[in-house]
Amino acid sequence: MLNLEKLSKTYGTGDQALTDVTLEIPDGQVMGLIGPSGAGKSTLIRCINRLVEPTSGRVILNEVEIQTVGSRELRKQRRHMGMIFQEYALVERLSVMENVLSGRLGYVGFWSSYFRRFPQKAVDEAFRLLERVGLDHMVDKRADELSGGQRQRVGIARALLQDPTILLVDEPTASLDPKTSRQIMRLICELCAERNLSAIINIHDVALAQMFVQRIVGLQEGQVVYDGSPDQMSPDVLTQIYGEEDWEATIETVDDEDEDDSDTTT
């Protein structure tokens, strides 16, 4: 369970990115966070794991108040929050396996990670996860040899190896083609269901969000302006979030048809 209480962030430049955001995300819920560019979506999820320090307000994850913990405890808490990025953010010159195992860095000491000696259990789990995301044949490839969809799968495996209770997902499909986007979204949501993970997914594509998530929160200029189920999204709601536009065509135009689930190009 993740609670945000009156979370605010003002950047040093004076930009007010978040204003009094209060949200509750129960275990196992996948929440889509939509809103125009600059609405504070990225800031919001980075405030949760303190990659960005919030100015005021509280973040409470499983009854631990993240804002007040010291750096050692913060390291421990970050293990519970798996993060998935827009541009995948894999370390390009490391192998797929090293990238996945880096999800375990919060659990091992410096020297064992330096010599790449991870516990056998972690290595086994890494192989299992790579198999689950369909990349078990790519273990020794360097991350920069992979296609976009494959990279994002490695990013997902890395986040899951942390054994998190929540996933913070920042625009997972923004750099992918429409078909791969759906496959990635489906994979994330399936994995959340399998492991009873909650997730906050920043996403631009409203139709895609409606297809997969259980709850949608609309953010505008740092404030929550919509919080409800995907079915209740209406042109009025989108106008409220994004501004005046013809929204009829955007909502629920895509059906979730079955497609084959392998985008492995090699």
């Binding site: 794991n49 993060m83 370390v91 390009e92 010159r93 880096s102 375990r104 860095l105 330096y114 990013g155």
Partner: protein, 253 residues
């Protein structure tokens, strides 16, 4: 070009007066130049018959000393440069550390090797120790500065992703930063090895050890054929290093 005629001719006249006094202030001894030409020609001619054998012990000892100085000072210099480079990267270090490390780099870059060498010879006496310290010191200014700039240019999101996993600071450097800057670090190290060898040949002239000392002695004794042999040896080694470094750099992309 200059429309005002008074200014135009004034400048011309000024230039002529300046040149007259400038040339006049040089005391050129033409008969000395004439003798010197002869000696210069002898030196160049010595390259047609370099003498490796007469002073071979001195030459080989000098070269060996230079090589040792180069290897040790490059290794020590790199070892010291890496932490300083981390401190001098504005995206990693807090402001006071950043300023301190940039300060060290600035001092190292401001002082030329020869000046440092003269100072080190004064402190540690003649010999390769002074040269070793000089070259290590000079390596810091070069390597730490360029490495710090590469760290500042790195892709932030890769490092951010490692931080988000709960990695500690050293793990973050090892996984998020090091892989991104490694090719540059290797390239710079090899290049600096190259420079250090050439510098080690010069440092001998001020008494800081290496083959430069042997070269200096050969000149003092007017043994131009030995001097030519030493210079040829230096050129061959530098070319070999150049070739090796191009191979290594091509392989670490």
């Amino acid at each position: 070009m200059i429309s005002n005629p008074a200014l135009r001719y004034g400048l011309l006249l000024g230039t002529l007066i300046y040149l007259y006094f400038a040339v006049g202030s040089y005391d050129v001894n033409w008969s000395r130049v004439y003798e010197g030409l002869d000696r210069g020609w002898k030196f160049i001619a010595a390259f047609s018959h370099p003498d490796f054998s007469t002073r071979w012990t001195d030459i080989s000892e000098g070269l060996w000393e230079s090589v040792i100085m180069t290897v040790t000072s490059t290794v020590a210099g790199i070892a010291i440069s890496i932490p300083i480079a981390l401190g001098a990267a504005s995206n990693l270090a807090p402001k006071p550390v950043y300023l301190l490390c940039r300060g060290i780099i600035a001092v190292s870059r401001a002082l030329h090797e020869i000046i440092v060498a003269i100072l080190m010879v004064a402190i540690f006496g003649f010999g390769p120790l002074a040269g070793f310290i000089t070259l290590s010191f000079a390596t810091i200014g070069f390597l730490a500065k360029l490495l710090a700039e590469d760290i500042e240019d790195m892709d932030r999101t890769q490092a951010e992703a490692i931080k988000a996993t709960g990695a500690g600071w050293l793990q973050w450097i090892n996984y998020g930063v090091q892989p991104q800057v490694m090719p540059r670090l290797i390239g710079l190290s090899i290049y600096r090895f190259d420079i250090n060898f050439r510098e080690s040949a010069v440092l001998g002239l001020v008494g800081a050890g290496g083959v430069g000392a042997t070269l200096n002695t050969a000149f003092d004794r007017y043994e131009f054929d030995t001097a030519a042999a030493i210079i040829i040896a230096i050129i061959v080694i530098v070319m070999a290093l150049e070739y090796t470094s191009s191979i290594v750099r091509a392989r670490v992309q």
